[in-house]
C-alpha cells in the first residue's frame, strides 16, 4: 500500500465527482495519508481463513411480494428538483464521449 499522494486524491475526487482546488487536493492528501496510515493494521489483522462479515445480524431471503404499491404524481416526483421541463428532470448536456 503506497502512501496516498495528490494525484491519487485528484483521481479519487474525479471518481467521486467532487471538484477540488489544488490547495484542497494538497490538504486532503496530507490528511488522508495520516488516516490511511492509522488504519493499515486492519489489513494484517485477519488471516485468509476468516470470513468477511457484511451484515452484523445475518438474515437471508428477505423478499417482497410482487404487488403494486404507492406511486408519486409527476408533480410530487419533481417537487424537489433543481430544474425540470415537461414533467421530467432537466439536466445540462451530457458529454458521454469525453
Amino acid at each position: 500500500m503506497a502512501a496516498i499522494n495528490r494525484d491519487d486524491v485528484a483521481h479519487l475526487a474525479r471518481l467521486a465527482h467532487i471538484e477540488m482546488s489544488a490547495q484542497e487536493l494538497d490538504r486532503m492528501a496530507g490528511e488522508l495519508a495520516v488516516i490511511v496510515d492509522s488504519v493499515k493494521s486492519v489489513s494484517e489483522a485477519a488471516g485468509d481463513d476468516v470470513p468477511a462479515t457484511s451484515h452484523p445480524i445475518p438474515l437471508t431471503n428477505v423478499f417482497r411480494e410482487d404487488v403494486v404499491g404507492h406511486t408519486f404524481s409527476a408533480e410530487q416526483a419533481l417537487s424537489g428538483a433543481p430544474d425540470s421541463d415537461d414533467n421530467r428532470f432537466k439536466v445540462p448536456a451530457i458529454l458521454d464521449e469525453a
Binding site: H17, I18, L32, I57, A98
Partner: protein, 524 residues
C-alpha cells in the same frame, strides 16, 4: 410544585413517563406540555450563545397533534382508551430522519430547503402514537462527526458548558433533551452518535440491536452500521420510546422479523441479583480520563453491592475495531452519498467557468454542498473501494468485523452484560479537535465495536468527572436481540446512582436549573 398546579418549569423537567402519567390523569394537557417545551426552545435555543439544538421548530403541527390528543382524551370512550401511553408527549427528531411537512437537511447545505415527500418508518410510528414532533435537531453533516461542529448550520452547544461540544453526531438531540427542550428525542448511531452525545450531556442514549428499529427514512451514512435509537433523560423513557419505534418493517430488508422482549418490563425489573457483568479489559484504563475511570469504577462498586457478579473479559481484536470502522463507514458512505448530485433534489451549483456539462455540474454541486469532513470520508471510502485496494481495505475490515463478533461471542459466554465507559473523555471545548480528524475519531473507540457487531448498547450518566465537573457516560452492551438486559441493568444502576446523588444528574447542571440561568449566561 404541587401535582395540581404544575408550572411550565416543572413540566419540562418531568420524565416522559412522568409527563405521560400526568396527561393520562388529566393534570396537564398535551397542548400545555407541548407549549411549555416550545417556550423553552424559544428561551434557550436561539441567539449567539443559544444551545442551537434545533434546525427547525415545528410548533404549529406539534400543537395541532397535541390538541388532537387532548380532544380525544376529553371525549373519552374507546378512542381515548386506545391512545398510546406516550400520546401527547412531545419529541424531537434528529434531522437525518425524513419527515413530511418539515425540512430535512442532514445538517448539510446540499439538502438545504429540501422537503421529503415521505415519512421515515419511525416517524410514521411517532405519528401513530400521536406524539407531537417539536422539530428537527442539529447534527454533524450527514452524521459524520463526534462534536456536531461539522453541521453546516453552526455547532450545537453543550448545555452543561456552552463552550463545549455536545458530542456527535447527534449533539442536537442530546442537547435538546439535556436542556429540557424536549423530554424525548430520536438519534442515529453509526459509531456512537447516540451514546457518545448521551455521555457528554448527562443523558441516556440507546443504540438498539441492528435491525430492531427500521432504518427506512434515516438518511444512510453506513448502511451496515446505522441504527435509529432513543435519546432520553431516563432509562425507562428510552425503553418506552424504543418500543414505539421498534419492530419489523417490510421496507427495510435488514429489519429483524421477530420482536424483542418487553423492554419496558425489563426497565421495571429492579434487580441485577446474580447477573454477570463483564468489564472489557481493552475499553478502559490507558487513554481514558482519570475522572471517567473513577466514575466507571464507582458504578462497578454499586452494581456489585446490588448483587451483580463482576467479571473481567478480554476482547483483543477491539484494537482493530476503530481502523475497520474508519474503512467500512467511509466506504459505504461514499456510495450512499453519491445520490446527492444536483439532479433530482437539493442544491445545484453551476461551475463558475468552463464547459457546462452535467459532469461538471455534479462536481461543482458536491464541491459546494458538502463540508470538509464529508469530502474527507467520501474520498477515503472511494479509495478503500477502488480497484486494487478493495481486498486490503474494505475486504480486510469486513474480516475484522468477524473477529470483533467472535470477541463479543466469547465475552458474552462469560458475562450477561458488558460494561465500559462510553467515551474516553468528557466534553471537550468547541474547536479543540476540529483540525485533527484522527483525534476526533478516537472519541468513538468504545462505542464502535457494538456497531461493527450489531449488538445493542446503552449509555447512561455515571456522574461528574472530578477534574472538570462534566458528565461521564457508562456504556452497557448486551448480545444481539437482548436489548432488554440493557434496560434491566441500566435502570438499576440509574436508581443506585440517583440515590447516591440525591436526584437526577441533570439537576446538578449549573446552567440548567432554570431557564433564566441560561438566559443570564447568554447575556454575558
Amino acid at each position: 410544585m404541587t401535582e395540581q398546579n404544575i408550572t411550565a418549569e416543572g413540566l419540562i423537567r418531568l420524565s416522559a413517563a412522568g409527563l405521560a402519567e400526568k396527561l393520562r390523569a388529566g393534570e396537564v394537557t398535551a397542548v400545555e406540555a407541548t407549549q411549555a417545551h416550545l417556550d423553552r426552545i424559544a428561551a434557550v435555543d436561539g441567539g449567539e450563545r443559544g444551545v442551537n439544538a434545533f434546525l427547525h421548530v415545528n410548533a404549529e403541527e406539534a400543537l395541532a397533534v397535541a390538541a388532537e390528543v387532548d380532544a380525544i382524551r376529553a371525549a373519552g370512550g374507546a378512542e381515548a382508551e386506545a391512545l398510546h401511553y406516550l400520546a401527547g408527549v412531545p419529541i424531537a427528531v434528529k434531522d437525518l430522519i425524513v419527515t413530511v411537512g418539515q425540512p430535512t437537511t442532514a445538517g448539510s447545505k446540499i439538502l438545504e430547503g429540501w422537503h421529503s415527500p415521505y415519512d421515515a418508518t419511525v416517524v410514521e410510528r411517532l405519528r401513530a402514537a400521536k406524539m407531537p414532533i417539536l422539530g428537527k435537531t442539529n447534527l454533524d453533516e450527514f452524521a459524520m462527526g463526534s462534536s456536531t461542529e461539522h453541521s453546516a448550520y453552526g455547532p450545537t452547544r453543550n448545555p452543561w458548558d456552552l463552550d463545549r461540544i455536545p458530542g456527535g453526531s447527534g449533539g442536537g438531540s442530546a442537547a435538546a433533551v439535556a436542556a429540557f427542550e424536549a423530554p424525548l428525542a430520536l438519534g442515529t448511531d453509526t459509531g456512537g452518535s447516540i451514546r457518545q452525545p448521551g455521555a457528554v450531556t448527562g443523558t441516556v442514549g440507546v443504540k438498539p440491536t441492528y435491525g430492531s428499529v427500521s432504518r427506512y427514512g434515516a438518511i444512510a451514512m453506513a448502511s451496515s452500521l446505522d441504527q435509529i435509537g432513543p435519546v432520553t433523560r431516563t432509562v425507562l423513557d428510552s425503553a418506552l420510546l424504543h418500543q414505539v419505534i421498534g419492530g419489523h418493517d417490510p421496507r427495510d430488508s435488514t429489519s429483524l422479523p421477530e420482536p424483542l422482549a418487553d423492554l419496558v418490563a425489563a426497565a421495571k425489573t429492579g434487580s441485577v441479583q446474580g447477573l454477570r457483568i463483564g468489564i472489557i479489559k481493552e475499553l478502559h484504563g490507558e487513554g481514558y480520563q482519570a475522572g471517567v475511570e473513577n466514575r466507571f469504577n464507582e458504578s462497578l462498586e454499586l452494581l456489585k453491592e446490588a448483587g451483580a457478579e463482576i467479571v473481567e473479559v478480554s476482547c483483543p481484536n477491539f484494537q482493530y475495531a476503530l481502523g475497520a470502522y474508519y474503512l467500512i463507514m467511509p466506504s459505504e458512505a461514499s456510495s450512499n452519498l453519491a445520490k446527492f448530485d444536483g439532479v433530482r433534489y437539493g442544491l445545484r451549483v453551476l461551475p463558475e467557468e468552463g464547459p457546462m456539462t452535467i459532469e461538471r455540474v455534479m462536481g461543482a454541486t458536491r464541491a459546494a454542498g458538502f463540508g470538509d469532513e464529508v469530502k474527507r470520508r467520501i474520498i477515503l471510502g472511494t479509495y478503500a473501494l477502488s480497484a486494487g485496494y478493495y481486498d486490503a481495505y474494505y475486504g480486510s475490515a469486513q474480516k475484522v468485523r468477524t473477529l470483533v463478533q467472535r470477541d463479543f461471542d466469547a465475552a458474552f459466554a462469560k458475562a450477561d452484560v458488558l460494561i465500559s465507559p462510553t467515551a474516553p473523555t468528557t466534553a471537550f471545548r468547541l474547536g479543540e479537535k476540529l483540525d485533527d480528524p484522527l483525534a476526533m475519531y478516537l472519541n468513538d473507540v468504545a462505542t464502535i465495536p457494538a456497531n461493527l457487531a450489531g449488538v445493542p448498547g446503552l449509555s447512561l450518566p455515571g456522574g461528574l468527572a472530578d477534574e472538570d465537573g462534566l458528565p461521564v457516560g457508562i456504556q452497557l452492551l448486551a448480545p444481539a436481540r437482548e436489548d432488554a438486559r440493557l434496560y434491566r441493568v441500566g435502570a438499576v444502576l440509574e436508581s443506585l446512582l440517583e440515590a447516591k446523588w440525591g436526584g437526577p444528574l441533570l439537576a446538578q447542571a449549573p446552567h440548567l436549573a432554570a431557564a433564566p440561568a441560561l438566559e443570564a449566561q447568554e447575556a454575558k
